[in-house]
């Protein structure tokens, strides 16, 4: 898959340092439109840092990131152009607690995309329908369960009609019974043909939904494989060890 169309994300020789600490050491990745890529790896390996460089929540120091033909530089216009193409879902939801669910979802479409309020609200209700919580529109985030909050966060990101969605451990802060409701929504998104980069430890989800799995360790991509290949015949020892650790509990 993906050979016939231009990659939508191109990352070439990406490096990043926190002070003296070399977090990302030469990352090369290409993602095709519609592809679902799962990123996994041990804690502290730089997964979050990597996906946050893609929408410039973190600056990189060397290498190129090209998203949908736009090269990420310090130019403010490029940054905001790229950010409105990319939706992001965080581990801690990061909903705006002083706004209602509806306001959370319509804020960016109204002020960044300059949509009329009525249109933005209509879209918001469609999205809430899609994440299966249309009845919560007028509540505040603090009044929702964790799973509901994360689904609102997904709807909020989708409201900008992004071409790419980034997920940084979207289910790690959730109780087990809420994980499924979020993963169900993500499965549905993957089927709809959205390009997705997902950092997760949900190996069942990865096996079922991913087109490709990227394994990170110490700031490098150690292995890139199909889900089948990765889970049944990992090529590297580090991946084998990681899988042994994660599947043992």
């Amino acid at each position: 898959m993906g050979k016939q169309s231009e990659p939508i994300i191109i990352v070439r020789d990406l490096h990043k340092w926190y002070g003296d600490f070399h977090v990302l050491r030469g990352i090369n990745v290409e993602v095709s439109p519609g592809e679902v890529v799962v990123i996994c790896g041990p804690s502290g390996s730089g997964k979050s840092t990597f996906i946050r460089t893609i929408n410039r929540l973190e600056e990189h120091e060397r290498g190129d990131i090209i998203v949908d033909g736009i090269r990420l530089t310090n130019d403010v216009r490029n940054i905001s152009a790229i950010r409105s193409e990319i939706g992001m879902v965080f581990q801690q939801f990061n909903l705006f607690p002083h706004l209602t669910v509806l306001q959370n979802i319509t804020l960016a479409p109204i002020w960044v995309r300059k949509r009329p309020r009525r249109e933005a609200e209509k879209l918001a209700f469609e999205l809430l329908e899609r994440v299966k919580i249309p009845e919560q529109a007028h509540k505040y985030p603090g009044q929702l369960s964790g799973g509901q909050q994360q689904r609102v966060a997904i709807a909020r990101a989708l409201a900008m009609q992004p071409k790419i969605m980034l997920f940084d451990e979207p289910t790690s802060a959730l109780d087990p019974e809420m994980i499924k409701e979020v993963l169900d929504v993500m499965r549905e998104l993957a089927r709809s043909g959205l390009t997705m980069l997902v950092v997760t430890h949900e190996m069942g989800f990865a096996r079922e939904v991913a087109d490709r799995i990227i394994f990170f360790d110490r700031g490098e991509i150690v292995e890139e494989n199909t889900p089948d290949g990765f889970f049944h015949a990992p090529k590297t020892d580090r991946a084998k060890q990681f899988l042994a650790n994660i599947l043992s509990h």
């Binding site: 929540l57 403010v76 705006f96 607690p97 960044v112 603090g142």
Partner: protein, 469 residues
Amino acid sequence: MTTTTAPTEGASSSSVTRPVVERGLLAWLHQNFFRTPFDVALTLIVLVIGGNLLVQFVEWSIAQADWTIITTNFRILMQGTYPAEQGGRLGLAVALITLIAGVSWGIWGKMFRATAFAFVGGVLIFIFVPLAAESLAEAPSGTFSAYLSGQLAPLFSLLREPVLLLVACLLIGYAVGRFAKQIDRKRAGRYTLIAWFVAIPVCFILVRGFTEPDGILPFVQTSRWGGLLLTFMLAFVAIVACFPLGILLALGRMSSGTHKLEFKAPPGWWLNPLQWLHALSIWWRNLGNYPIIKLLCIIYIEFLRGVPLVTVFFTANLIVPLALGDNSIDAVLRAMVALTLFEAAYIAEIVRGGLQALPPGQLEAAKALGLSPVQATLFITLPQALRIAIPPLVGQFITMFKDTSLVAIIGLTDLLGISRSVLAQSEFIGRHREMYVFVAIVYFVFSYGMSYAARQLERSGSGAFRKIG
């Protein structure tokens, strides 16, 4: 507070009953003041000392105090030498503000039973004390009755009309607010906010005036503002002006140098005027991120926080006219400017504290959605930071209200300043206690009112702030 006792056996053996909770005054007293021997000792000591002070104060105020210094100078204490025939304008301004305050209370606040009782009690006192005093007119001197008729009654009858009027305005406003809230809460809230924004300048114009002496609103020189009126105007103007300034300073101090644009010079760029323009535009667009702004904000804040307010008043009073080569700038205006500039530094630090208390994820989420830095600040971080900062902000506003008393040092006659000039009159020699007790009570009433209103404002957050996350 309540006392819990051991759970009693329920009717059905399988279910656990709720512990029985003792209620009532005795249980409350026991729980709070007499639970341990240490509590008992502490309570008794405080009772003895406090009771002794109270008895002395009552004795003094009955046997020795002479409140005529307040009653004869009441008008001057309240409004200085503001022309008496224009006094109605002040009344109107106060009534307007009280009315809107009442409406806001009706919409955002709640009437607590204690508050209602306080109102009713206050009104009854103001109605009945003068009445009671009349019937006791010829009591022997030195007794409580004589004190009531000779001392308190004039004070209360002086205060009666204004107080009743204010309470009436407040309650009418409250009723209107409750009514409006029931019809359309959102719209009521919005109109009330607008009313505040309109009322503030309107009141200022009402007090100051602008026409010729025979016009509808004759201009009143600020040198004739005095007493509580001047205290209010100083505090009011400074609070309204230092708040936005403080927010800007806080944002300036929190700003960072990210998102800098680079100028990539093509070879021989200096020969091409278009490239010059390009370089210039990049320099200009980088300006908001220049560390120099941040540095200036830090210097400003730290400097003003490092000097006493009095020196700022003196500086404004002496150096500013010297620097401008012009002595005509109003002394009251100078004090307002000095107070505003000084307090803005404190407000800035409070707002910065609020901004730093926010989880970083809030700004990240705003950025990830494509909001510009200005939008992210206006819609996401600032509203939340201000909400967090309400208690310290109100504390600072109260401090500011009390700080205005320092203008007495530069010769302005605010409530404290004018009380000193009243004390200098020969017939009131030695009546310091009465005067300062009165002044303290006035400051207390308004400071407490502000802090009470702020607590109501905080609670009005309802669902929005039950849980952040």
